[in-house]
């Protein structure tokens, strides 16, 4: 797996202006980690056009959601820490 250029950690609901702003900044070698209300984006079922999209498992189950699409990988907090180490840059939205 090639190195993550930027890891975007997105905790805003899809209705928040910063959610759209984040989606506009995604590059092809970036990864997206959905946390807190960011995971609500998976309910709408819109693709992100990214190979690596992750979602925190505890935040998914809290909201009755599952990462059904093969493109979204559920992760735990230790995985999120690994991702921040793997990425060259991190943006917390």
């Amino acid at each position: 797996m090639n190195v993550i250029h930027t890891l975007h950690i997105l905790n805003k609901t899809p209705e928040h202006p910063r959610f759209r702003e984040c989606l506009g900044m995604l590059g092809p070698d970036d990864a997206l980690a959905l946390t807190e209300n960011g995971v609500l984006a998976l309910a709408g079922g819109q693709p992100f056009g990214l190979e690596r999209v992750y979602a925190l498992r505890t935040d998914l189950s809290a909201r009755g959601l599952s990462a059904t699409g093969a493109t979204v990988q559920p992760i735990d907090y230790p995985d999120l820490v690994e991702l921040t180490l793997e990425a060259k840059r991190v943006i917390s939205w």
């Binding site: 807190e36 209300n37 609500l40 309910a43 498992r57």
Partner: protein, 116 residues
Amino acid sequence: MGMLIVIDQPAYGTWAGREALDMAFSLAAFDQPVSLLFTGAGVSWLRKDQDPAGIDQKSVAKNLAAAPVFGIEAVMADRASCQRLGLDAGDMAAGVTLVDADAQLLSQFDQTAFSA
């Protein structure tokens, strides 16, 4: 015909929705006619099988299930918001009516207040 409380904030990550629900329950406890409308990100309250133990919170769905006990007149969800957030009737908790949140709906209430 009474008061409408609109919850347009997501179920977790903010307290605004819970505070609005508390207000609705208080009104109902004092025999004031009150109804609830979930719209926008607020429809995330209504999804079945919420398990927030992992984020150390209690299920808002269980909280909301007490609405009939308190005498809340109606629990409604905006149809378009549900569609946008991929929530169909099968995914939804029992006792929720699908409505169109428009001027006609709001005109049925003397007062309308939003969650902060």
